[in-house]
């Protein structure tokens, strides 16, 4: 059984700050990490691998050569081999162009029984690349998935999170699964033997030609969407602290909210 896990190197958004003078992201000193959603997806795949002895896991990423770091981490966690799509032709890709490149690479690898992705990456939060890949590969998708398992006849089951609950879905293979971490998920730290082994596992860097994609579909020129401008979100006004002891403060706040018609009660 072949599993491909798509991973992305992202800046740790909890560390990202805006330069108030230039209104741009301050990226210096911000650590690059394996997108947490992707690590969860990888750990789901590794759990399936642990249950069977015929599973091969390839991790696939697109990014600059430095993205090697997150692929090495994935190998250290237990993936078998890694492919990095790295080429100037990919620069400036939106989700469509990214999906074209990644699905092209999957096709070149001969496809997979299950493709895992994180639901979304914490830098863009779009959740689009997974379903777009599934469409381009013409395979079904299970999104917002957790607790992925294989049935005895090799169907893929997953629990899909919905706004008002969840559903257990079952899909034929091949299928693309996008994972959302369970509340209790704590990303594993690669064990020392894994880190040592990772260095000798197969690692390939592919240029744009190897994806088999039409060059006009890649990178900035292949991207239908364009960023026109970026700016800081409008700030809120200063907070008004309500003085007084608990009783006084509560009463004045309640009075204030009623007077401002924020709460009316009648409804």
């Amino acid at each position: 059984m072949r599993i491909i896990v798509c991973v992305k190197q992202v800046p740790d958004t909890t560390e990202v700050r805006i330069d108030p003078k230039t209104n741009t992201l301050v990226r210096e000193g911000v650590e690059s990490i394996l997108n947490p959603y992707d690590q969860f997806a990888l750990e789901e795949a590794l759990r399936l691998k642990a249950e069977r002895d015929d599973v091969r896991i390839t991790v696939l990423s697109m990014g600059p050569p430095q993205a090697r770091k997150v692929l090495l981490k994935s190998l250290a966690l237990g993936a078998d081999d890694a492919v990095l799509l790295s080429d100037r032709d990919f620069a400036g890709s939106d989700t469509w162009a990214t999906s074209v490149a990644l699905s092209g690479a999957v096709r070149e690898m001969g496809g997979a029984d299950i493709i895992f992705c994180g639901l979304q990456a914490i830098d863009g939060d779009t959740a689009q690349v997974g379903p777009e890949m599934a469409q381009l590969l013409d395979i079904p998708q299970l999104t917002y998935a957790e607790r992925v398992s294989l049935t005895h006849d090799l169907k893929v089951r997953a629990e899909q999170q919905m706004e008002d609950g969840s559903r257990v879905l079952e899909s034929d293979t091949p299928v693309l699964v996008t994972c959302v971490p369970t509340p209790s998920f704590v990303p594993k730290v690669p064990p020392m033997p894994g880190i040592l082994k990772a260095m000798s596992k197969p690692y390939e860097v592919w240029d744009s030609k190897r994806t088999g994609a039409d060059p006009s579909d890649l990178g900035l020129q292949g991207s239908p969407t364009q960023v026109r401008r970026t700016y800081s979100p409008p700030p809120r006004g200063e907070v008004v602290m309500i003085p007084g002891d608990t009783r006084e403060a509560s009463r004045s706040l309640a009075r204030l909210l009623i007077d401002r018609n924020i709460v009316g009660g009648a409804d």
């Binding site: 958004t13 909890t14 990202v16 805006i18 992201l25 989700t95 469509w96 863009g124 959740a127 689009q128 690349v129 379903p131 777009e132 890949m133 469409q135 079904p140 998708q141 999104t143 899909q160 999170q161 919905m162 706004e163 008002d164 609950g165 969840s166 559903r167 257990v168 879905l169 899909s171 034929d172 959302v180 971490p181 509340p183 239908p224 969407t225 364009q226 960023v227 026109r228 401008r229 970026t230 700016y231 979100p233 809120r236 907070v239 008004v240 602290m241 309500i242 608990t246 009783r247 403060a249 509560s250 009463r251 706040l253 309640a254 009075r255 909210l257 924020i262 709460v263 009660g265 409804d267």
Partner: protein, 396 residues
């Protein structure tokens, strides 16, 4: 761009006839023939086992942009009920369409469809494309993606909006990729400038905003955060309705629903829809302690939400989670209790009209994004606040 049956290869097995969502393929002299109902959705291709269908996907990049007219909305239904996001999006679509001098089209599927024509018209829909079949009451990607793609291909709207709900975020990229067009996720602002849709969205965990355009492709597609735009009724349109002619046998064969678990109470307003939300975080310390928040929420006719910390600790179900990995809320009033207010939480609550923070720590980041703050022990402040509201509102 186009589709053709290669007669020499066609073995007359009728698999494509059964696989076409639009009943567009028939048999003639033992061979498949594609009729005028074809929307170029491409669903038939994978059903053909003899490689007899030559198909080139239409590409949004290579179109005559001026032939695309109309602002369309995918209206989500759930278990036979039209979601509020549909009315928000149709209202926004009305504004955009008026600016562009175009019509508003709504797509609605499931048993809720026939009941919703009136309200969709009242929010500004000129045209409704629908199917009332109950198989759409429980969402499956494979049932809807070819249908929506097909309708969009056939009617050529210039803009298509989807709600940025789980369902909308599952469906929209599938449709966008099948049309080879762009898609902007989770928009919180939509305007028209020089005939182009300006799509504003937060990125980097809400640290920055970006304006996105799709200048060269049609349609321009976006998913839109629920609770960001206001639903505005009273437009009083009487929409023309068109039932989609569907193939009875066509359904998502690859994915099956094994079990459905609903965690929110029937009829109760979820945090996506509530006007007042009382949220609890790490300061709550246990699930039992949420009772004080529930009491306040009841007084104000609101709902209870939670930060990731509270959900991770197992005190509240995940459906209550507010923030980057949870839900986006935009109530009139959000009362954050014992929530420190990390950036990930802020992302989910930014749309709230008025924010009240109650926290022991005067330096908690939540106070930086609040309108009113009380520094104190929530277990004293919240009951006191509840008491004050009950008295002042005369409900107690």
């Amino acid at each position: 761009m186009g589709i053709e049956i290669i007669r020499e290869k066609c073995v007359g097995c009728t698999a494509c006839v059964k696989g076409c969502p639009f009943n567009a393929i028939s048999m003639k002299d033992g061979k498949a023939v594609i009729g005028p109902e074809c929307t170029l959705c491409g669903a038939c291709v994978k059903h053909c086992r003899s490689d007899a269908i030559e198909f080139e996907r239409p590409r949004g990049k290579e179109v005559d942009r001026s032939s695309y007219k109309g602002v369309w909305v995918y209206c989500e239904t759930r278990s036979g009920r039209l979601m509020h996001s549909a009315l928000e999006l149709v209202s926004k679509a009305r504004e955009l369409a008026d600016e562009l001098g175009e019509d508003v089209g709504a797509m609605v599927f499931g048993s809720a469809a026939p009941k919703s024509f009136g309200i969709l018209g009242d929010h500004g829909a000129d045209v409704v494309h629908f199917s009332s079949e109950s198989r759409f009451d429980e969402y499956l990607t494979g049932n809807l993606a070819p249908l929506v793609s097909g309708l969009v291909l056939k009617h050529r709207p210039s803009i298509v909006l989807f709600p940025a709900t789980h369902t909308g975020r599952d469906l929209a990229p599938r449709v966008a990729a099948s049309l080879a067009v762009g898609l902007t996720a989770d928009c919180t602002g939509l305007t028209v400038q020089d005939g182009l849709l300006i799509q504003s969205r937060p990125a980097f965990g809400g640290n920055i905003m970006a304006d996105i355009i799709s200048p060269d492709v049609r349609p321009q597609m976006a998913t839109v955060r629920p609770n960001v735009f206001k639903a505005k009724g009273g437009v009083g349109k009487k929409p023309d309705t068109f039932e989609v002619n569907l193939n009875e046998g066509m359904k998502d064969a690859a994915v099956r629903i094994i079990e459905i678990v609903r965690t929110s109470k029937e009829g109760a307003k979820g945090i996506e829809e509530a006007d007042v939300i009382v949220g609890g975080g790490g300061g709550m310390r246990s699930s039992e302690n949420f009772k004080v928040l529930e009491e306040l929420a009841e007084t104000l006719g609101g709902a209870v939400g939670a930060s990731r910390v509270a959900v991770d600790a197992g005190w509240r179900p995940r459906s209550d989670q507010i923030g980057q990995t949870g839900k986006t809320i935009s109530p009139r009033l959000y009362i954050a209790c014992g929530i420190s207010g990390k950036i990930q939480h802020q992302v989910g609550m930014r749309g709230s009209e008025v924010v009240v923070a109650i926290n022991k720590d005067p330096n908690a980041p939540i106070f930086k994004v609040a309108d009113y703050g009380i520094v104190g022990d929530l277990f004293q402040v919240v009951p006191a606040l509840n008491e004050a509201f009950r008295e002042l509102l005369g409900g107690g």
